[in-house]
């Protein structure tokens, strides 16, 4: 039974859990807080002088912020990768890690919204975008769609996570009739947040690099590579540092699924590159800029090839059962695919989309110190949110911290993520 008293006990217990920890925990949180402070300092400078402190200009009007935003939407969407088998097929081994996936999604969404917030020129007018209060240009603007779906997805995940943990805290099994529909809803929602984000770029005829029908499928395919990659490493860390039992089987199953999505992702990328380069229309210049450089400007070229190479190697590592089940090669593969997608869906998507600009001008964009500092701050906020959620969630999931056993666990949850 849900009671207000139980819930307030849950909240105060959570608060107690996140404020008490080992030395390593405090050091990690302190480090994140330091990064947040650095980011906040840089952001204050940006507020004062305007976005001119970034390296974005009229020619390249979106940059590092929006690149990170796009990548993180993918991470958030990837949560369903784990939700689908867990809830639909009631597949036990993966079930425990689903809640972690959802917490990862929440953290990623917090970062997404942070990156959007720091990118807009008038954050003081943020209320203009709130439906009914402001004037949301829905359904015309894809950005309006994005605002809606991202926030709904955030709320949905937030609710499911809170509810599941609350059930664990009150030592009851969750009500399947309530959770299942929500989880079922979260599947199309996860697809939609990344699809809508892809459409945001996709719908712009002015930018041929983005105006491709397979952009949304590419977004989803790459998200299903990078999101689980983070989780795989995380799960191993959790197994080592907490009493959480995660079976090898679960991890290898996720890795196997990732191999398929990675193959598909590479195939889609190749399909896109072939179409542009072989037909050789005037739209080819953006791919040229990305892969080979244009008029002597080759800034992106090493990153682009590094991304392709990392993707290929990771694919092979995940495809071959021997390397997939070897912890060393598996983790190398995870790092490689993460790096690959981070380049591909971040700067590798935004910058060549805008370079050369619509009038043929080539402006070589590199993020400024402010942009990097602010981005680091936002990542720190996301990591902090995830750390705190994990800190509270693990003891509850393990049944160590419940309404009857409301003690603080001695052992600290993980420090490295």
């Amino acid at each position: 039974m849900f009671t207000l008293r139980n819930f307030s006990g849950f909240l105060s217990g959570t608060l107690r859990l996140i404020t008490k920890g080992g030395r390593l925990y405090y050091a990690w949180v302190g480090f994140l807080l330091l990064l947040i402070a650095i980011g906040a300092g840089a952001y204050i400078g940006q507020l004062k002088d305007g976005l001119i402190v970034t390296k974005m200009r009229d020619q390249v009007s979106w940059g590092f912020y929006i690149g990170n935003f796009t990548f993180l939407v993918g991470v958030a969407a990837a949560a369903i990768m784990l939700v689908i088998p867990a809830y639909i097929y009631d597949w036990e081994p993966i079930k425990e890690i689903t809640i972690l996936g959802e917490m990862l999604a929440i953290s990623a969404l917090i970062m997404c919204l942070g990156f959007v917030m720091v990118d807009i020129g008038r954050p003081d007018r943020f209320w203009h975008i709130i439906p009914l209060v402001g004037r949301l240009n829905w359904p015309q603007s894809m950005l309006a769609w994005d605002v809606i779906v991202l926030n709904l997805y955030l709320l949905l995940n937030w609710f499911v996570v809170t509810y599941l943990l609350f059930c664990a805290y009150t030592e009851r099994h969750y009500v399947k009739k309530l959770v299942l529909p929500l989880v079922l809803l979260s599947i199309p929602m996860a697809v939609s947040i990344h699809t809508v984000t892809a459409y945001l770029y996709n719908g712009l005829a002015a930018r041929p690099f983005w105006n491709s029908a397979i952009l949304a499928p590419r977004f989803l395919a790459s998200a299903f590579c990078s999101g689980p990659a983070i989780l795989l490493i995380l799960l191993q860390v959790l197994r080592k540092t907490t009493k959480l039992t995660i079976k090898d089987e679960a991890i290898f199953k996720v890795a196997e699924l990732m191999a398929y999505t990675m193959g598909f992702n590479l195939f889609l990328t190749a399909a896109e590159a072939f179409k542009e380069l072989y037909s050789g229309t005037e739209h080819m210049v953006y791919f040229q800029y990305l892969l080979f450089g244009l008029k002597g400007h080759t800034t992106l070229v090493p990153y682009a090839w590094a991304s392709i190479l990392c993707g290929l190697v990771a694919f092979i590592l995940f495809l071959v059962p021997r390397t997939r089940t070897n912890w060393v090669t598996l983790n190398i593969g995870c790092v490689l695919i993460y790096a690959s997608v981070y380049i591909e869906k971040g700067m590798g998507l935004i910058i060549p989309g805008l370079t050369p600009d619509v009038l043929g001008d080539i402006y070589v964009y590199r993020p400024s110190f402010t942009e990097i500092a602010v981005a680091a701050g936002i990542f720190a906020i996301g990591f902090l949110a995830f750390t705190l959620m994990l800190k509270a969630a693990v003891p509850m999931m393990l049944g160590e911290f419940t309404i009857t056993k409301g003690r603080t666990p001695v052992e600290a949850p993980p420090q490295e993520i």
Partner: protein, 310 residues
């Protein structure tokens, strides 16, 4: 005029001495104070913070907003700046035609536009971009150079193509705006409500003509160079962090004048008029000259045409 510091105007960036001190009259709401912090600027009045989308304002609210803006500009520039709200003339849709065979690329239009429309001098914002192109290549932006600077123009083997807002009938920029801060008015001019724009720059990504420009920093406009005849949706001084663009000199054209770029052009390459008036020069051009629309395949349907006069 410039040596005395104006009373911390809106959009100016002096830190406030104390909240609730000398600017007590402005800071009415806690939300406004928070928003002030968010702008990083000194002041943001409650009225400005709470101002709604221009198209949703009542007649009286529009007058109040204009009065407030005029007061702010007076404080900021130490001179009277008039902000008009002239509506579209019924039966008029503006069209523009530019004669590519006559433009010599002298950039008089660019700088006349900057003066007329109170564009920021630093950081530099220019609404017109003149592209120098190779005659051998034809209209191809991948062979364009906007930074040419010879002793004299035109240069052998080149032609010149000025690009500015094409005032599309199907503007991709207004479609994507998440808050409806930009729209196509009845006379075909695509305008921006600088007080409603949130600065997300989605419109800039959507525009195929590079016509939209962002105030990356606090716009700087010397007080003695301010054009005091302004329009709310046109050339009034803009704040930091919003997008701006060519409006066919809305403050002039809605009063019957030609845009500044038409008036300055030494070669008479720029033609302007009412597309609905069959006797206008613009209609004559459309009916008698070889005309093309820039990036026609994107179906933006510009009301800005390029033509060959010879």
């Amino acid at each position: 005029m410039t040596d005395h510091k104006p009373e911390c105007p809106i959009g100016g960036c002096e830190p406030p001495a104390t909240i609730g001190g000398t600017r007590r009259e402005f800071l009415g709401a806690a939300t406004a104070a928070m928003a002030t912090a968010l702008t990083g600027c000194g002041t943001l009045s409650k009225e400005e913070f709470l101002q709604h989308n221009f198209r949703e304002l009542s007649k009286q609210e529009v007058l109040d907003v204009i009065a407030r803006l005029e007061k702010e500009y007076q404080a900021k520039y130490g001179r009277e700046v008039k902000v008009a709200n002239t509506p579209a003339i019924p039966g008029v849709i503006f069209g523009y035609a530019l004669d590519l065979s006559r433009c010599i690329g002298c950039r008089r239009c660019v700088h006349a536009c900057v003066k007329e429309n109170n564009q920021s001098r630093d950081p530099e914002i220019q609404w017109i971009r003149v592209l120098q192109m190779d005659k051998e290549e034809g209209v191809n932006v991948q062979h364009a150079d906007a930074y040419y600077n010879p002793e004299e123009v035109p240069q052998e083997g080149h032609f010149y193509m000025p690009v500015q807002c094409q005032q599309c009938k199907k503007p991709p920029c207004t479609k994507v705006c998440p808050v409806g801060a930009t729209w196509r008015d009845k006379d075909g001019i695509v305008v921006v409500d600088y007080n409603w724009c949130i600065g997300c720059r989605y419109c800039m990504a959507a525009c195929p003509y590079g016509a939209r420009h962002f105030n990356w920093g606090e716009p700087h406009l010397p007080a003695d160079e301010v054009n005091p005849k302004t329009h709310y949706l046109g050339n009034r001084p803009r704040p930091k962090g919003v997008v701006e663009k060519c409006t066919f000199c809305i403050q002039r054209t809605r009063n019957g004048q030609y845009p500044a770029c038409v008036e300055i052009c030494p070669t008479g390459s720029r033609k302007f008029g009412n597309l609905l008036d069959k006797d206008s020069e613009i209609r004559y051009i459309l009916e008698n000259k070889r005309v093309f629309k820039f990036k026609e395949d994107l179906n933006t349907q510009p009301n800005f045409f390029y033509f060959y006069g010879v």
